[in-house]
């Protein structure tokens, strides 16, 4: 099954959105995770926290409504929703590291069956810096990795990450366009599978130990 980038991102972002609950405070990473916001039902009240100092991030401003003093962590101007608040980086990381954020959604270069995640550098190639990711992964109550299942033809869901870690033993859930995997003490539990893919499409593209339940659930859409 070949999906284009856009379809992949939509499948993942839609599925991640289902992990969020009424009243949750959520921090979304840059890139794909940011798109999760587009699939939160308008009736559901979710507060998006941005590590640069906003809780209650709203929609993109219209061109004539841009305030350079209100941005998200990507430096992009945003608006605020009802109930928003501004604060400094110290308070932001008190929220993040102190366990006050219900869930964080982050991309990853690699993730493994121990719940380790690598998403901040490829030695000698890409060293953007960890930004707030290390604190987010350590501190958020629930850590959701939202990523494309493979990177070109490289396997990303491993027995043990080979890239420098962002944090150890912190990932709870891995959501790709092919499946939903839960990190358990015995390996990755295949909770859901996208019916567009076969079980073989999963097992052949995951190096980690997989726990495959007798009755496979279809990915929630």
């Amino acid at each position: 099954m070949e999906l284009n980038k856009e379809q992949i991102r939509e499948i993942i972002a839609k599925r991640v959105a289902k992990e969020l609950h009424e009243g949750d405070y959520v921090t979304l990473g840059i890139g794909l995770p940011t798109e999760v916001a587009n699939y939160i039902p308008p009736s559901m009240h979710i507060m998006i926290q941005s590590e640069n100092g906003v809780v209650g991030v709203g929609a993109k401003p219209s061109p004539d409504n841009i305030d350079p003093k209100i941005t998200n962590a990507g430096g992009i101007p945003v608006t605020t929703k009802k109930g928003a608040a501004f604060f400094d980086s110290m308070t932001s990381f008190t929220m993040i590291r102190g366990g006050h954020i219900d869930a964080t959604v982050l991309g990853a270069l690699q993730v493994d069956q121990e719940g380790n995640i690598a998403n901040w550098m490829v030695p000698g190639v890409l060293v953007p810096g960890m930004g707030g990711a290390m604190d987010l992964v350590v501190g958020a109550k629930k850590v959701i990795v939202a990523m494309e299942h493979m990177s070109k033809n490289n396997i990303k869901i491993l027995k043990k990450c080979t890239l420098p870690l962002t944090a150890a033993h912190e990932v709870d859930l891995i959501i790709t366009e092919r499946c939903v995997l839960r990190v358990t003490e015995k390996g990755l539990l295949l909770e859901e599978i996208n019916p567009l893919f076969s079980l073989e499409d999963i097992t052949s593209t995951v190096e980690a130990d997989l726990i495959i339940p007798p009755h496979l659930q279809t990915i929630a859409a």
Partner: protein, 213 residues
């Protein structure tokens, strides 16, 4: 009453080889006018402590592009490819610090604390060369306080007593940096004639030395 100086004079307060903290998260809440003057003054061999190295052609990002920075202690360099390039070429030293740890290290410097005990970075390369302590069965890294010779911070409004009000998401690192440098210069969009309402003060004037209005 604090001394009100020009951006140019503020730029000149920063000496070659100084350590400087610069507030802001990318462009937001960054004191750009003083940075312009610092660039104009030709100051070099600086140690930069900031959230990020911004963009190659913006504010503190230009300090990188124009090779004024000897060492950068930051959480993120991804938006400024010039930093990565100079880092790989060995032209600049870069100490990457998790953002939450960076803000706490600056806070510790400003609050007279001996260090920070954080779970962030445990099990990663950030641990390297650092002491860790086990407290109540959990492992924490001991991270060192950070101070600087000069802090350049942004304010939306300030009064002559140095009290500053920061709007929107401009607060970011400005609040802690105001506490952690020998000399603190606030660059304000607006200098008010009257005093700020004491309830609306984001950064009390006690932390401020100079105002650039």
């Amino acid at each position: 009453m604090k001394k009100i100086i020009s951006a140019a004079d503020a730029g000149k307060l920063i000496k070659n080889g100084a350590s400087i903290m610069i507030g802001g998260f990318l462009k937001c809440g960054t004191p750009t006018r003083i940075i312009e003057e610092l660039l104009a003054a030709g100051t070099h061999d600086l140690t930069l402590i900031a959230n990020d190295t911004s963009y190659p052609d913006s504010d503190r990002g230009r300090l990188i592009s124009e090779k004024r920075i000897k060492k950068a202690i930051v959480a993120h360099i991804g938006t400024n490819p010039e930093t990565g390039k100079q880092f790989h070429n060995g032209e600049i030293e870069v100490e990457l610090v998790p953002m939450g740890t960076l803000v706490e290290r600056i806070r510790a410097g400003g609050a007279g604390l001996g260090g920070v005990l954080t779970p962030t970075g445990i099990g990663t390369v950030v641990e390297k060369g650092k002491q860790s302590l086990e407290i109540n069965g959990k492992k924490y890294l001991l991270e060192m306080p950070l101070k600087a010779d000069i802090a350049l911070i942004y304010a939306t409004r300030a009064d002559r007593f140095g009290n500053a009000y920061l709007e929107g998401s401009t607060r970011n690192f400005n609040t802690v940096m105001a506490t952690a440098a020998q000399t603190v210069i606030v660059e304000t969009d607006e200098l008010v004639d009257e005093c700020l309402d004491p309830n609306m003060v984001t950064i009390p004037g006690v932390f401020i030395d100079y105002i650039v209005a």
